[in-house]
């Protein structure tokens, strides 16, 4: 465990130094990549480990975003570090609480039904946040700028997102090595067999669900701070749910780095390479999804793995 952690730390330090040499636009692209990667990895904790594919994870982004925005009075006066921690903290807590509330009934469903149920949860919450004025979803809420004076705003959020991504990766690595992770793999392979063998499937699923929700909500809070003004539509977006899944798939569902790689690749594609293709970027994203699913079902990691294996074989048998 120590060696991978050290390598991770080294990579993080390198990434943290990048804003000092990159221009603000590239820092923002990096920020987008970290947010997307973090969200995809948070989704993966449930979807990749346990194969419970949630199509409504944007609900936690939204809940986290609004929790941070509406809890303003708790943290608005204070040091910027406190503001960040309390804002993200309240987002994580509220998301976890909502997840805990719905976990048991929702996780009783399997397969497609769980997928649609999460979508339904997302839709209900989005409508509720708009319909009930107490949430201010329809009119929108502003968040104050919490970047410390003197620091460039995009750098601040870049570092905050990087830090949160690091936390998420560490949590994912810990889960993968713990009984929780092995239990989730068992659920993924054959849930009924796991139950019969005594694996506490319900408890493990609920735990993974709550962790996934809390992390997603935290990124939702950062997303909201970065935007500065949110309405229901800006954070309860079906597109965000689908992006999380596409990123995990494109990167590869076999490793916790799959979602990260997929997020980086797709963000680079849509925000940079296609930024000037005014009309067709949606169609191209769709084509990429189709091509990846058919031609590279193990994702980019799978493609690279296959290529390396082929090279090795070719080397031995000329």
């Amino acid at each position: 465990m120590l060696r991978p952690l050290l390598l991770l730390l080294a990579a993080t330090v390198l990434l943290a130094l990048l804003p000092l040499v990159l221009g603000p636009f590239h820092v923002r692209v990096g920020l987008s990549m970290f947010l997307s990667a973090g969200l995809a990895l948070s989704w993966y904790i449930l979807g990749g480990f346990a194969a419970y594919y949630s199509f409504g994870h944007t609900v936690f982004i939204g809940i986290g975003a609004f929790a941070a925005a509406l809890s303003r009075d708790l943290w608005v006066s204070g040091h910027w570090a406190g503001q960040l921690l309390l804002g993200v903290g309240s987002a994580a807590c509220v998301s976890a609480a909502v997840a805990a509330l719905i976990a048991w009934p929702i996780l009783r469903l399997r397969g497609h039904y769980f997928t649609i149920a999460m979508l339904a949860v997302a839709l209900v919450c989005a409508e509720a946040v708009s319909a009930f004025p107490v949430f201010q979803g329809a009119m929108g809420v502003s968040l104050p700028n919490i970047a410390p004076p003197g620091m460039r705003v995009e750098r601040f959020y870049y570092w905050a997102a990087l830090a949160l991504l690091l936390v998420t990766v560490v949590i994912a690595m810990l889960i993968a090595r713990a009984r929780l992770g092995y239990g989730l793999y068992a659920i993924r392979e054959d849930e009924d067999a796991a139950m019969m063998l005594g694996v506490p499937t319900t408890r493990l699923k609920i735990t993974a669900f709550i962790i996934s929700a809390a992390l997603t909500g935290s990124f939702g809070a950062l997303y909201a701070f970065n935007l500065g003004y949110i309405t229901t539509d800006s954070v309860f977006r079906g597109a965000l749910s689908l992006e999380m899944i596409v990123h995990a798939l494109v990167g590869g569902m076999g490793s916790i780095f799959g979602p990260i790689i997929g997020a980086v690749a797709m963000t680079a594609l849509t925000k940079v390479a296609l930024a000037d293709m005014l009309e067709y970027h949606l169609a191209i994203t769709g084509l990429v999804v189709i091509v990846v699913v058919i031609a590279a079902p193990e994702g980019l990691i799978g493609v690279v793995g296959r290529w390396r294996r082929n090279r090795r074989h070719r080397g031995r048998n000329p």
Partner: protein, 292 residues
Amino acid sequence: MSTFIQTVVNGVLFGGILSIAAVGFSLIFGVMNVINLAHGVFVIGGAYAALVAWSTLGIDPLLALPVIMALGYVLGSQFQRHVMQPAVRRGNPVAALLVTFGFALVVVNLLTVWFSSAVRNISPSYAFVNLRLGDLSIDAVRLVCFGIGLVMIAALSLFMRRSRLGRVIRATAQSELGARLCGVDSKGVYAATFGVGSAFGAASGVLIGMMLPFTPAEETLWTVYAFIVVTLGGVGSPAGAMLGGVLMGVAATLTQTYLGAVYTNMVMFLILLLMLLVRPHGILGSAFRASR
């Protein structure tokens, strides 16, 4: 009291629209156990096809309906055979879902480029005819579409029960291996089923285009409405789609009138959620498999 009756009548007519839109989705879900995220684009695509027929070619949408259904069938079955089947073969359970999602993105983008996202509607000469039954006001177009929808759903039901292809589809749905052992080309059956589902989706789009304003972005909503109808009424059976649609429609109009218009969608999605938790196969259950 008359308000209540008017609300219920409006609900039934609106529900008819929902049923028609869901019947194709129900078939695909029931037979192939695939959530077709591209369902909405077939619906909206049908609406745009009818728009082209009406505004550019001057053909009444109802006359163009059979042609549009045929186009839907061809597009759907070819997509299933050449894109979905390779995806499913990869083994990933979400694969089929994701390629339908990718396909939906492509089609929505193309529709937006060709037609712009201006709000459109089709208004044939009889679009504003109004019928009165005492105090009740009934929109003639909705009534006609409701009637056509009923006919279509009944035709699908008959097709599934009596025709050879219908029986083959049902057999494959109940047991793919068993059907193949009996000599059925299951791949062909799946392609045909997807085609039929898409054809009905497109047909519903033609009717919806005559009743409601539409844009390319609506397609997500119609896919979601299809989920709700199917989850409520029952998977795989046209009768289930009919029941689910009418119940949803009445629930929507009752919410609008007595609770507040702003809660309409929320109540509809809440019903979906509750049904999933309590009885996911719907009131009438799954037509092809054992229900919980």
